[in-house]
Symmetry: D2
Subunit: 384 residues, 4 copies
């Protein structure tokens, strides 16, 4: 495995998280060739230079196209606002680069499909930044479900709730525009939940959503005027999976008190599993085994016996953090490029999530269930 060269576009929250992961992935996983932090791009040339130095990049630029054009670069890493993903991803793919893009992959299914298809045709490897599924305990949960250790699955109860827009006084921002933020809470938070649900339980079959905009207007802090919020604060969804089980999803960016409330419960005939991202080092398991009077939900603490944990720490219960999930995500990308194995979540996964997100919006407008089986979506996609 050779040291791949990265060009990173964007220096915000996600840009920094990617840089931290790129810096440390080789030290954490010593069987991985550490990537080279080749070029950091920011529209502000001085900021690009300053942060490139601080974060350990060899070069900096204020022109994102330069990293697509640079023959030295192997991977273009896109951490810009959502509405810029499409153009950048297509340019990088056109230049034959592997592409790593933050979620959501695009603002619409049509855009996501075009990116996915371009990457497929070009034969480049891709990854979408759905970091939460990289948690060692999520890998463990998936393995338990797959092995049948909690039996036939009866139901899924998922939610992703935060409160970053709960306060009516929070001013208007780009996230509230369709053209930039897409589908609101569904795009920001719901896409993680949809991806998590399918990662654990396989494909969804149909969805029926209900959308609510609690604060239809917010003040523009620059002009002082009230502006119309163009997307929803809350999405509530009924869902059915191909495997036969049913579920609900609750998505909110106005859930006062919730800070990173990605939670789920999965009930099966032999047991159940529960998870809350705010306690990301704990997986709750109920199992029908053992004496009746000694059963109960147990709290499994993440430890070296779970996938990937041992690379961070040989001692159990010591705890990973959110940035460590990004390190695993980058490792998955690097390993996928090297091995050719499927990268979960690649752009096909990212596109699938976007299609379901769009179907939830449609179902809410039509007050009826929408088929999201892969066949149905493929024909929908083709018609758009």
């Amino acid at each position: 495995m050779r040291n791949l060269k990265f060009g990173l576009i964007g220096t915000g929250f996600m840009g920094n998280a990617h840089a931290i992961a790129l810096r440390s992935v080789g030290t954490v996983f010593d069987d991985i060739a550490a990537p080279t932090l080749h070029c950091l791009v920011d529209a502000d040339v001085a900021n690009a230079a300053k942060l490139a130095k601080a974060w350990g990049f060899d070069q900096s630029s204020d022109d994102w196209r330069s990293v697509c054009d640079d023959p030295d670069i192997d991977v273009v890493d896109i951490c810009t606002p959502n509405h810029l993903h499409r153009e950048m991803a297509l340019a990088a793919i056109a230049a034959g680069k592997h592409v790593y893009c933050e979620k959501p992959l695009a603002l619409s299914s049509a855009d996501a499909i075009s990116i996915r298809d371009a990457a497929e045709v070009a034969g480049v490897r891709t990854a979408t930044g759905f970091n939460y599924i990289c948690n060692p305990l999520i890998s463990k949960a998936r393995a338990m479900i797959a092995s049948g250790s909690i039996g036939d699955i009866y139901s899924f109860r998922g939610s992703y709730q935060e409160d970053y827009l709960a306060d009516p006084a929070t001013p208007f921002g780009w996230r509230l525009l369709r053209s930039q933020g897409g589908a609101g809470a569904l795009a920001d938070l719901g896409t993680h939940l949809i991806n998590m649900a399918e990662y654990l339980l396989g494909p969804m079959a149909a969805v029926l959503g209900s959308l609510t905009t609690v604060h239809p207007q917010r003040r523009d802090s620059r002009t002082g005027d009230m502006r119309t919020v163009e997307n929803e604060d809350i999405a509530q969804v009924l869902v059915r999976f191909d495997r036969g089980c049913s579920g609900t999803m609750e998505i909110s960016r106005v859930a006062t008190g919730k800070k990173c409330g990605l939670e789920f419960e999965i009930f099966g005939s032999e047991g159940s599993i529960a998870f809350d991202q705010e306690r990301m080092n704990e997986l709750r398991l109920f199992s029908n085994g053992g004496a009746q009077d000694e059963r109960g939900y147990r709290t499994i603490l993440a430890g070296p016996e779970h996938p990937d944990y041992a690379a961070f720490c040989p001692a159990p219960g010591h705890g990973l953090g959110i940035n460590d999930l990004k390190v695993i995500e980058v490792r998955n990308l690097l390993q996928g490029i090297s091995s050719g194995d499927h990268i979960y979540s690649d752009f096909a996964n990212g596109c699938r999530v976007q299609e379901i997100s769009d179907a939830i919006e449609t179902s809410a407008q039509k007050y009826n269930w929408i088929d999201v089986s892969e066949d149905a979506l493929q024909s929908l996609g083709k018609n758009e």
Copy 2:
């Protein structure tokens, strides 16, 4: 306040719980005239006699009509299987008795309406056994919501999940017949959740449900044959309230690991409230007040500063139990009879819950929202 005489019909789980509550209510609440346990009715005359002696009743009978006819009796207390509620309640009302009936009030809205209307015409006082709302912490939650201390309400996320039918090997029983168990999990568990939601947030406006029968057949342990399950194991519901907020409800009798999982989260502009019946002495509150870096969900332990708790124990955090909620429910009934004040939950509340339960079933069949505003239901009721 005089000592009211009770005739109790039924000696199962609920009959015993009512008897315990009737025995102790006057000792717990010393400002309440203790009721007289006048007559206990069970179809098995020997069992009736034996339990009457053990439980402290003056008399026993194997004829439920005898307590309706007995001029000494003030209150007929119905703890029989659901499909018997209607006939007994109507007979008791016809005899001019106050009536206390376990939930669900009836098997259908039509039955529930007939009972409610008969009681209203007769002018007798009534109570339905929705004990969970009698919890001191639920009273506190309701008061906080009513006073606006968590602000405008944005969303409700409720569930009532148990696992008493999770095991496919559990044999067929009367609860699985429409004619006796009514609407399955919705009747057993969902009615508690609907009542709780309206108790806290006021009337629902519309519902849209999805029903699933995970185990469509179960073995009849007598004949050894497989029999068809006639009602649902899981109900998942989208809901909208008159006050404007939206929500989801998840109801399941096959949720492996859940034993009394009546849970809710209510999010408002100024805070949020969360509750789990399995930790019935705890109310979780997030409040926007105070320093930003010291905010978090707090766990309020039930104590004498909450309604009704002090009658049980002057020390905080010592804990009430499920049977104590029944004591409060009985106190509410006795006080309502004495004062004429509204008894929450009376038969009108019980009927309302049944109407919403029916609407959820209809919505699942029609794949569409059903209006459950009080006006809409009244006209529906009139047409049936």
Copy 3:
């Protein structure tokens, strides 16, 4: 089994709790002959009469000796302040009554020994009100330890912390006098913890305590003067058990935020057990069995498979309350009287606890370990 007649002395917190339990025990446990609430005693004759009527007693009195003298009475139940226990218990024993007395049994080992020995000589049955050990989950914990299911016991970490005297502004009261409150937090709270520890792990061998009076003076609310607090707010104890394991005990009445914080952790070679009375319906168990990557503390919810629970409720996870423990305690007393089996906690247990409490005080004064093996205490007792 015949219906035993009770005379109850005291109408405070504990008097009411006993009355509730006496009223309902026969309805809860239908194989137990319900006791007769024969006479209620309160120094205020009008209050005695009023409460006797409300609580369902046949008679009332303002003379506690009358219940000792009454030939109809089988059991004298003592719920008065601690310093009155000795005289009342000795009189009841002298009259040949069975005696049920709240904890702590006495203010000193010498007093406790005299009561214990008198009861033993008279051959009457006795019970001390250490209600916390009556919890179905504590019975389960004890059985697990006894059966070796958590292996050899390595250590015990117990505490009983409340905050009823945390506020320096709380005025002076009788509990702060040696002559009435005895050993402060150790008497109020520590005695429960000592009894619990020995109930679970068998006899203690030696103790070494440290006592602290955080608020040495409090204001007398009647006179306005500051008065000296005569006993400790906090006791911290090192302990060794006969079985070889070691431990710590933390006892405090000034632990701000703790309301009923009777907690313990017990670590063994094969697992561990943890309990917190504030969540009295939960027992936490870690077990070495099963797959390494699926181990964790599980939360066992109380249910009908645990001792005594089913009498209250056939459904698991529905929750018992503090008053239900008293019902079990009364059942144990009635059963013990009827069967002659050991009643845990009888006066011998209550006396043992008092001896250990005294030894902790001595150890704190002498800055050294005190032997509390049963032989050692017996000789100490003989010398006093």
Copy 4:
């Protein structure tokens, strides 16, 4: 601030953790000049070379003295087994290097004092690896205590329990030898707890310990013979602080089920604080403020409003991990070298902890309290 050059000795658990932190500290904290990973030392020359490449070091060596001698190196970072700390630290100090050393600083107070004094005389900056105090929520807790927001402190209840030696079948190892592992659980775990307690509450005044070796012999997996364990599995300690409050400490390496159980409760007149390292992103706070019926322990989730968190993630509740604490520790060292400000924990802190650890051992042998006030220890140290 210039880029300091590090020589890291040791490639085990801690060596890797330091390397990860050194790699990412400049990317996380962009106002810090990223250190240069100059040379990695391991006794196995091939391993040193392989890991140096993987972890991003410029050079490697099998001779630890070479990094002390190398004039390019600014900081010698010691991550070797405990018994090697002394010689390496003294050599590095003699060469005028700043020294960063894992905990415990030494095997005895005498050794720790010699290191501390050498560093003080040489005027080099030092840091000891007590990473747990670097948690943003611990900084917050310390600030709350210091500001008086939980009032006068009444008591401390601390523990550090793990189960890495709970299994009797775990073979003999170097940690069980006095000459290499020092004081057993006290050295491994207790030193973290002592340092944490003093960080939060200031100096201890006196200690009284009790030590237990649960497994006095373990099998040598090489020879097959049983060997004698030379240090304790459990330490239980009574403690008094200079500020007047009292406490207990429970330290165990045989606490089955505990994986990283560094826990404490601190009770004050106005509130209390509780923490559990297994949930390192949560701080529990009880505060006397607000309505009586809305009080309860709140769970504060770590967020950008707490010290250092924002550098890792701008969103609250997303969670830091154990390796992130090391990043903060390294930042503190770099900042301390640059600014000259006190580094908590420097070698003086590390030495202080060792002196208290030794005093606990002495107290257990003498069955009596040992004065650990700073004056007392200074004179002790001088006499040794």
